[in-house]
Amino acid sequence: MASNPVEYLPGKQPHPREHRMIFRNVDRAGWDASIDTYLNDGGYEMAKKALKMERQDIINEVKASGLRGRGGAGFPTGVKWGFIPPTNTKPVYLICNADESEPGTFKDRYILHQDPHQLIEGMIISAFAVKANLAYIYIREEFPHAATIVEKAIAEAKNKGFLGKAIFGSDFDLEIYVHRGAGAYICGEETGLIESLEGKRPYPRIKPPYFPAALGLYMSPTIVNNVESLCHVKHILQMGGAEYAKLGTPNNTGTRILCVSGDVQKPGYYEVQVGKVTMGEVINDLCGGLKPGRTLKAIIPGGSSAKVLKADETYKLKDGRELTIWDIPMDFDTMAACGSMAGSGGVMIMDDSRSMAWVINNLNKFYQHESCGQCTPCREGSPWMAKISDRIIAGNASPDDVDMLEQVANQIEGKTICAFGEAASWPTQSFVRKFRDEIKSMTKADLAGRIVNEETKLAVAGLEA
């Protein structure tokens, strides 16, 4: 493959600690989203190569690479592909999840806008590997320009014979279409996404039996992969799975794009080898440190659904190591061992100027708005949490309310069809458990035992009458 020297736009030079692979062409000087630019850079060579390979060999390379899904759950991509029943006779579908909606996450948008052909090439390889002749890219409605750019890229690829019938002169057919969401976070949940693609409300399906690889779109085997994950497939084929696995750390291979936001000097996107930089290096090296005169208070390390990390915590690992928040390597396994998750790569930094009650209230309102309403604990509990934290930040809460906030979260976790229940309750539980004193300090002891809600007051009056 041609490897033209890569130069970046003024002021957009990647940090020396970065390892640009998926984001190689993001902010690249002289780069655009056209197919000619991509072809001049050696584009679509891996798709051509893949179509001459045995399908199982591609899947084996992806398994050998150790690639874990970059959408949030971190599930091994090759293993997911392997769940299609071997006896299957139905059509198989591939769906690219470009619903990027997890607060704190903003990586896929740059791939869609600046390097759509990398995604299409990854999808051609992946669709061929799983025997899908029809694929959809589910793009959130709030990315209107991205949808236009990707649709244009698909048309260009089709024009060149890279999509459609008998692509690259093989006997493999593939159509890719863009499907646009309509502003609902729950569509990022893969079974909710599938319902949405079927033209329905995106109510997640219960698993089992509706594991998409067995019973997905139109009750056929369906593979749903994140944008970044599908792009990685191209590079795995280029490098070989074993060579790719040398990037990163064992069981946490490859690169990933960290999206850093909040109270740092230089928020933004940073592609690094998984586990090769620590949280402290992310803040101090990549992001230029905290704001002047400020100290670190808390970090949400993997999108808003991840449990918060408190600045003065230490984490004892099974291997005997003891880590501070600054020492945590940015990988999947250590982050889980520290009680949170690497999730979608969205790292949100909060300094000592931030009220933790205000932060959790902001997130409670997000989950209140986004609960699909299918399961009672989540439908009722998410707004209830927002109501409680509303009165905490308004100074109208009793100390008991803080404990009740946690209890409501406890009643959602593990009691819903999909992982939204955990996503809504984990931030609440962790913020309350780790910052209980601070949050309680905003309450009034003399309000204990009071019925605070006007509606409740009226209801109680009605019962007593």
């Binding site: 059509p91 990027e100 909606s101 997890e102 607060p103 704190g104 996450t105 903003f106 896929d108 948008r109 029809l134 959130r140 409605e141 709030e142 990315f143 209107p144 320009h145 279409y177 499907h179 646009r180 969401g181 309509a182 502003g183 609902a184 976070y185 949405s196 693609l197 079927e198 033209g199 329905k200 409300r201 995106p202 139109y218 999206c259 850093v260 936001s261 909040g262 109270d263 928020p267 933004g268 996107y269 808003s304 969205g346 949100m348 909060m350 931030r354 932060v359 902001n362 997130l363 309102k365 997000f366 708005h369 986004e370 699909c372």
Partner: protein, 164 residues
């Protein structure tokens, strides 16, 4: 309701993207109608249902679920300000206030049940929306289809002026 021939042609083309089930085309058809008519009317629901061979309720339940489908008319220029954490930390609540002030919209009238505020002259509408996935350049807003990043609340007039 008049659906122009070129719009219907685009709708018919979109339906071909779903060879297995016409029902899958509900969202794309609604998007095309909303793009043209600015919001989804009862007539649009009935038209979509007839077009796809569905019951109107099968379309209406989609319209009422997704925040991206508007059931009331927005202004000529629709502004969506991101409310969620990174943007809120960077001042998006103030940004919303300033947009409301600049366009003469009553901030208090925007709530969960009435998510879109429209200016008295019908020129602008404002919506406070959840995460727009640009947290690194907070605070952000979408004006029509354009993302505006690191928006200074003091400069909302300049943003709106680009769309007058």
């Amino acid at each position: 309701m008049e659906v122009p021939a070129d719009l219907e042609a685009r709708i018919d083309e979109a339906i071909t993207h779903y060879p297995v089930s016409r029902r899958s085309a509900v969202l794309p058809v609604l998007h095309l109608l909303q793009h043209h008519f600015r919001y989804i009317t009862e007539e649009s629901v009935a038209w979509t249902a007839a077009k796809l061979g569905l019951e109107p309720i099968q379309v209406l339940e989609v319209v009422t679920f997704y925040p991206g489908f508007r059931q009331t008319a927005p202004g000529k220029v629709h502004v969506r300000v991101c409310r969620t954490l990174a943007c809120a930390m960077a001042g998006s609540y103030e940004l919303l206030e300033k947009f409301c002030q600049a366009s003469g919209i009553d901030r208090e009238a925007i709530n969960h049940h009435h998510p879109i505020g429209v200016s008295p002259d019908g020129k602008y509408s404002i919506e406070f929306v959840e995460c727009l996935a640009s947290c690194g350049t907070a605070p952000v807003c979408l004006v029509e289809d354009d993302l505006h990043e690191k928006v200074d609340p003091a400069a909302v007039d300049k943003v709106l002026a680009q769309y007058s």
